[in-house]
Amino acid sequence: MSEPPALPRRAEDLERLEIELLLEGVFRRYGFDFREYAQASLKRRLWRRVYAEHLETIAQLLDRLLHDPRCMERLLLDLSINVTAMFRDPSFYVALREKVVPLLRTYPFTRIWAAGCSTGEEVYSLAIVLQEEDLYEKTRIYATDINEAVLERARTGVFPLDKMQQYTQNYINAGGQRSFSEYYVAAYDSAQFSRSLVDNVVFAQHNLAMDRSFNEFNLILCRNVMIYFDKALQDRVHALFYESLETFGVLALGHKESINFTAFADRYEELDSNERIYRKVA
């Protein structure tokens, strides 16, 4: 017989065991693999769900998850909604216009992957930039997320009206060329964005942790998504992106993410180091 593993001694050890069991349970019951998500934010979100369900322990949450698929849907929302804004980091969109758009112009047709698009704020921002640059008609955007429910929200193109002041300011700082209000119609407390922005968008479920490449792209946007993954999973997703980019394809990450310490660092050149925009060269 093999030695039994070290038994949990402290409360934190027990909590870690509960989290491991929960993630294993979720994977084997529903097929969603969160086992390589970054610990600290994962733990915060799990506890938030524990309290929202009026439970006391993570083990109790596992019990409910196993027996109640609706509880799993709620947890999936907790784990997949990444709060973002339209034109978050306006300087990124300026760089997109100045450095990436000219590259995209050289193609007769452009495929873009917005990976981990959550509720779609970034997809609509991207579509606006492409429309203003007269590129949208020859572009297809594949917007994917692990969670069908957030994709459904993204498809509707409805965002809270009280955000529009901030988004308008972002849009102006991002080099917007029109009046931002041309893109939406206000109704009650919502802003309904123009359907023309999603004419060339395909929303589809895709799990970065598990699914394979599904096309070859000229541009992949994955901003502030991999920050929720641990290093091993980040490496795998980088392999997936590398495989999914055509040569000279562009990869855009969040402001505080880097490919410098991944296995693919020397396969890309920097198009814009501040904005973390990279171009596949090898």
Partner: protein, 192 residues
């Protein structure tokens, strides 16, 4: 006890307090320092780091996702991100603002408490809201050390007051007293 991490939270008045604290900090203190300072979303890239770097010979910079915590480095929560502490490294998040703040001091403190437990030192400095109080209580509850800037000597006293109300602080200090106190914790105790 060997302390391995110093976590500092501040808001209004933080720049001056942090500048003074870092310039006074004895060179022997090698523990990595993480700082959550509330600041405007549109603050220019790296501006706070450059200002603080003028007051210390430590490396000061905005944290990047998955940064490894290095000795004598000072990591700032970037504007519009939460800074989360893991064992030996950092992670970022764009989850909802907590009490209207992103970065949230509470989030950074709570994750520091989880990752470092009794090896964490938490410090609440001047500020005009209650962020940091709950997180400091978590650090103290996990066996770590809770230090609060003396409210009477703080540019804004609300944040230190809230921390003192929430935690039985190990020390309530004027900013100029913090360097020597940290030296005692980080250097002398370790040697004894």
């Amino acid at each position: 006890m060997n302390y391995e991490l110093i976590a500092i939270g501040t808001s209004w008045g933080g720049l001056q307090a942090l500048s003074r604290l870092l310039s006074d900090l004895p060179a022997e203190i090698g523990q990595p320092i993480v700082i959550a300072q509330h600041r405007a979303v549109e603050s220019p890239e790296g501006a706070l780091a450059r200002l603080l770097e003028q007051h210390t010979d430590r490396v000061v910079r905005d944290a990047e996702d998955k940064d490894t915590l290095e000795p004598r480095h000072v990591y700032l929560a970037p504007p519009d991100y939460h800074l989360l502490v893991e064992a030996g490294s950092l992670a970022l998040s764009t989850e909802d603002a907590v009490q209207f703040a992103r970065p949230s001091i509470d989030v950074m403190f709570e994750t520091a408490a989880d990752a470092y437990g009794e090896r964490a030192i938490g410090i609440v400095l001047t500020g005009a809201n209650d962020d940091g109080a709950a997180g400091l209580a978590r650090i103290k509850g996990s066996g770590g050390v809770a230090i609060v800037q003396d409210p009477d000597s703080s540019e804004r006293r609300r944040m230190p007051d809230a921390a003192i109300a929430a935690v039985d602080a190990d020390a309530i200090l004027r900013i100029e007293e913090m360097g020597p106190f940290l030296y005692g914790l980080c250097c002398e105790v370790a040697r004894a």
